[in-house]
């Protein structure tokens, strides 16, 4: 089921009479293709949970409309939209067993949709098998681990075969190891059912690793939407570039003069097609090559060996962050006795942004020989 948001806006009235309204979601326009897994990504308080609540119908939009396929569901109450929602804290009924929790939505069906008991059992078992909790049906939620509770919550959301599945911070209550496991699991369940799934997260790792598409949000405004790798490789502005990637991108103050990019006083790279101006320079940690002749020089602080690769931590006077972190292959030896490390830069890992608007400035470079 395709999900389309048109000019979706949600304004919350201010608590004080004089204050301005809070715009949690500001003029959203996007289309989520059918059967995809979408990560709604942004820092806390950026309006991603509100967006989710608008889609599922727990909140009504101030303006704009929501379409599932061709149906306008903007004015429909949540129960008639055909959405399944997994709450951040799962909201499993603590007094009911796992089975009763999964059966609960089915038992609500009335009229033509009413199911017989064997039909309900069959559907519940199907959902339980899908999330692999069919061994735990007689347990109470309090007797389950966090990961198992999460699966029960997903089974309960899926049992009515919703048109759209929504997950609110699905991994935030799990420990690091379970998080890895569960995100694979969510991916698998989504692919097996083919249900259009939207999940909210503030963790870019999570979103990048399993989503077909990510939507990056900031302060109620959609910044960029696209496939994770595309967004990572081609960020539209400084915020998106900073938000995606661990370790985060290194940001420097720089300027362009005569087609040459200067970071500090050093000319570091030729950039074509950019007018002379002050710029913010973003360089991904993996965009550095150790090169004795390299023009990008930093002051070495320490070298962190991580096995597969090596992380060079250094300082640079023009850096916006206290440290510059560059990741190089472990077979490169860094001379730790020297105070200065020299790098050459990979042009496709370097981004220029307008110093004021923070919008991306495209540039051209000559392919290396």
């Amino acid at each position: 089921m395709k999900v389309v948001l048109q000019h979706l806006t949600k304004r919350f009235p201010s608590r004080t009479k004089k204050g301005d309204d809070v715009i949690a979601v500001n003029d959203f326009n996007f289309e989520i293709p059918s059967g995809k897994l979408i990560g709604l990504l942004g820092p806390s308080g950026c309006g991603k949970s509100t967006t989710l609540n608008l889609i599922c119908g727990l909140e009504a939009p101030t303006e704009g409309s929501i379409l599932f396929g061709e149906d306008d569901v903007t004015r429909l109450p949540p129960e008639n939209r055909g959405v399944g929602l997994v709450f951040q804290n799962y909201a499993l009924y603590p007094h009911l067993t796992v089975l009763d929790n999964i059966l609960f939505p089915l038992q609500n069906l009335r009229g033509a949709d009413k199911l017989t008991k064997p039909q309900m059992m069959e559907k519940a078992m199907q959902a339980a098998k899908l999330v692999q909790i069919d061994e735990l049906l007689e347990r109470k939620p309090s007797e389950l681990s966090g990961g198992q509770q999460q699966r029960v919550a997903i089974a309960r959301a899926l049992v009515k075969m919703p048109r759209v599945l929504l997950l609110d911070e699905p991994l935030s209550n799990l420990d690091a190891r379970l998080r890895l496991q569960t995100r694979e699991e969510i991916r698998r369940i989504q692919q097996e059912t083919g249900i259009t799934t939207i999940f909210v997260t503030h963790d870019q790792d999570e979103a990048m690793s399993i989503s077909d598409m990510i939507v990056v949000m900031k302060a109620g405004v959609m910044q960029q939407m696209g496939q994770p790798q595309d967004v990572y490789d081609d960020p539209i502005n400084l915020f998106v570039a900073t938000f995606l990637g661990t370790p985060p991108i290194n940001v420097f103050d720089g300027r362009v003069r005569g087609g040459m990019l200067y970071v500090g006083d050093d000319p570091v790279m030729a950039v074509g097609g950019v007018a002379d101006q002050q710029v913010s320079v973003g360089i991904r940690p993996e965009g550095f090559n150790l090169d004795p002749q390299g023009s990008f020089r930093t002051h070495l602080v320490r070298v962190e060996v991580m096995g597969r690769d090596t992380s060079v931590v250094s300082t640079h006077p023009a850096s916006r962050n206290p440290f510059v972190r560059s990741i190089i292959r472990a077979d490169n030896q860094v001379d730790r006795t020297k105070e200065t490390v020299c790098f050459s830069l990979m042009p496709n890992k370097v981004f220029l942004f307008d110093a004021q608007t923070e919008a991306r400035i495209p540039f051209t470079w000559e392919a290396q020989k």
Partner: protein, 296 residues
Amino acid sequence: MKKRSMKGWLYLLPAILFLGCFMVYPLIDVLIYSFEEGYNSASQTYYGIGLYNYRYVLRDPYFLQALRNTFILVIITVPLSTGIALLISLGLHAIKPLRNPYQTIYFLPYVTNTLAVGLVFMILFKKTAYTDGLVNLLLQWFGGSSVDFIDGPYWAKMFVLCFYTIWVVMPFKVLILTSALASVNPEYYSAAKMDATSKSRVFFKITLPMISPMIFYLVITGFIGAFKAYSDAVALFGTDLNAAGMNTIVGYVYDMLYGNSGGYPSFASAAALILFAIVLTITCVNLLISKKHVHY
């Protein structure tokens, strides 16, 4: 290890001394009195040991009357007050404006003196030479005939007592239940809403189980409290409850000790222990039932 356990006992000593003096010792003493025939507290003498006290009490028509009154009071007031309190709490929980003023109004009887309230009830219900009382005037207004609620037929007196008791215990129950309702995680309601759960199903399948521990707490304390009723009856019908036929078990115990017919600590002890046995049994039954129906 030994030293440490000594230290533990030392910490417990104040509580043990206090409870021993004022709870355990009197309890044992009452048990002993109840088996001593014709115990005289002035001369500290008795003339036999046996079950005579119990036999006497259980045959005493005043005691049987008190037992009957107490049971009727318990059976009517506990479910009714808990049920009405639940309805009021649900109402309070559902409204947003004026919730606080209403909550205050419902809580007022809790901070009001029992005897003062009894006096007001008497004025409402009592028939005197000058007036029939407010309730009777209302009854006449609607075409009924007036009833003497304070000195009249048994059912009328029982009605007033139950009405009064329910009114007095209500605020505490409303207070507990509103806070219980407020503590139910709203996510459950959102989840139920997502699944198109009907209102009655939300109440019976989500709200009620969630607040069941509090309801159970209220039922148990309600039973115990109602079995120990005494001051309410005194407030309405005066101290000579036997004459009014409205005595309670605790009232009987008091009368046996200090009343006009008093001075029989042995009978009083036996009656008190019978009450204890009844309350214990009922509480155990409650606990057994609750295991099946109370969640967590």
